[in-house]
């Protein structure tokens, strides 16, 4: 499904916020009190929009431009909601201040207030603590997930705050919608009701810290394209128990019978444990997601892969002959780490349009300037990058210096925290 364009999410968010504020817009009130009420409802609308983007449904993601774009806007709208909601009590206090300074403080001081305000304060503090944790890169993923629940608790408390204020039920549609999105996400994605059952059919180890698992569908297969990714949770099997968490993995092969292969590098606790996965282990799969290489224009391309970033390119090369010239640079640390190197060499022999360069960089940063084609050779090329964030960022800078337009540079960051 083609998405309607980059304005789809901003327009959706504007509609949700606009309808919420329009519905509850105050009349005949003082300036600060009006600001206080509008900021509260605008915050609710922004929260609803942010939570809509947390839903992991393949069709919704395709329509809204991909999971990556959804998560980027989820963060932007979440922070906007927080900032607007911070203004809510301050504006109400300013309304009190216009009568007397003591009244301004009285609007905020919990010991001068009652349940509606206590719940409002608790919701705001949960939002504050939840966001502080969400924005801390140092927090381990498992703890990060637990602390992220504070944000869901904040929505529940916000609803309590509004109910105790005695507001009309019709006014509550945006916080109720936000709550519905949380439940949707929890049931369909976290509990896996939207996931399809697969089983590990084969396991290969193309490099010491890399495993490639071939998954056989136990129900309807995925309609995936090479270069897309799935969210997979490895469960139990003979002598093995996976961590059960959904993590993104790129599809490295798609067989006609619906079997898919995933290339997995040991990058964290869960993926390290997965290096020992065995055939027969149950897997739940959500997706497919992403558009990387999926709908590439029929023209020459430059591909840059770093380490396990080779998997989307491998998926395309395994799917059949390339219809256009491709210049592929595959960077790896050393020969022992170079997963799929031999297979790539074999594939290159049967791919007349492929120019393959496999480069061992060791532990130092690669000299990209020497490996990326010069500006003249890049003319008319689309550039696809997949690898560690530092490598991708450096490659984007270099390609821009060499005159490649941003619209012709494609990459995915897999930053789903």
């Amino acid at each position: 499904m083609r998405h309607p364009g980059p304005l789809a999410i901003p327009l959706l968010a504007t509609t949700l916020v606009g309808l919420t504020v329009l519905w509850a817009f105050p009349e005949d009130l003082g300036f600060w009190r009006s600001v206080g009420i509008v900021s509260g409802w605008a915050g609710c609308g922004l929260l609803a929009a942010s939570l809509l983007l947390m839903i992991r449904e393949a069709r919704l993601a395709a329509w809204l431009g991909g999971l990556e774009s959804m998560y980027r806007w989820h963060h932007r709208l979440g922070i906007s909601a927080y900032l607007v909601l911070l203004a809510h009590p301050l504006a109400l206090a300013a309304a009190g201040w216009s009568e007397a300074p003591a009244l301004g403080w009285g609007m905020l001081a919990p010991w001068q207030q009652n349940w509606p305000v206590w719940l409002g304060w608790t919701a705001l503090l949960c939002l504050m603590a939840g966001l502080a944790a969400a924005l801390s890169p140092a927090i381990a993923y498992a703890r990060w997930r637990v602390l992220h629940n504070l944000l869901a608790l904040a929505i529940l408390l916000t609803l309590g705050h509004l109910l105790l204020l005695g507001l009309d039920y019709l006014l509550l549609w945006s916080p109720l919608l936000a709550l519905a999105f949380i439940f949707w996400r929890f049931l369909r994605a976290d509990l896996g009701l939207a996931a399809r059952p697969f089983i590990v059919a084969r396991v290969e180890h193309p490099a010491p810290a890399v495993v490639e698992v071939c998954l056989r569908p136990l129900a309807r297969p995925l309609a995936a394209r090479p270069g897309q990714f799935v969210l997979a949770a490895f469960l139990g099997g003979p002598g093995f128990r996976g961590c059960g968490e959904y993590h993104p993995y790129t599809i490295s092969a798609i067989a006609p019978d619906g079997e898919i292969s995933l290339g997995i590098k040991a990058l964290g606790d869960c993926t390290r444990h997965l290096q020992e996965v065995v055939p027969g282990v149950a897997v739940r799969i959500e997706g497919p997601f992403g558009d990387f290489l999926g709908q590439r224009p029929a023209g020459p391309a430059f591909w840059l892969a770093g380490g396990i970033g080779i998997t989307p390119f491998l998926g395309v090369l395994r799917s059949g002959p390339l219809p256009y010239p491709v210049h592929l640079v595959y960077l790896h640390r050393n020969d022992a780490d170079a997963a799929f190197r031999d297979e790539l060499a074999t594939l290159a022999k049967g791919q007349p349009e492929l120019a393959l360069y496999v480069v061992a960089c060791g532990d130092r940063l690669p000299d990209l300037a020497a490996m990326v084609p010069q500006a003249i050779a890049l003319s008319g090329h689309d550039c696809y990058l997949c690898g560690p964030p530092g490598l991708v960022a450096a490659a984007v800078r270099l390609l821009r210096q060499r005159g490649v337009r941003p619209a012709r540079i494609h990459f995915e960051s897999f930053d789903f925290r």
């Binding site: 009130l29 201040w97 009568e99 007397a100 009244l103 009285g106 609007m107 504050m128």
Partner: protein
Amino acid sequence: MMRWLFLLGTSLFWIAVLVLWAAARWLPPVVERPPVAAESRLTIDEVARHASPEDCWMAIDREVYELTRYLPEHPSKSGIVEPWCGKEATEAYRTKMKGRPHSAEADNLLTQYRIGVLE
């Protein structure tokens, strides 16, 4: 960028809260009570004649308040407060929210709308 916005917003919020606390603590109170015409003495019948949202009086704790201007600012929905226009509303004022009284801030606010005592 998101982290920076979060830190900036949170810091400014707590600074504003501190300023409000300090202002309440150190600035002199300037609440002006509206002039009461020599303790107007009003009967409950007179209060009952002002029983609409457009002309709303209430008797609370033997005092009479003219709350027409305040009604739109009351945080709860209109159906909760407006039925008490023109009535003796002491019990309702004391027992909002499942038996909880209004806050001190609300008591303070109420004094601004006082127009007399109940006879």
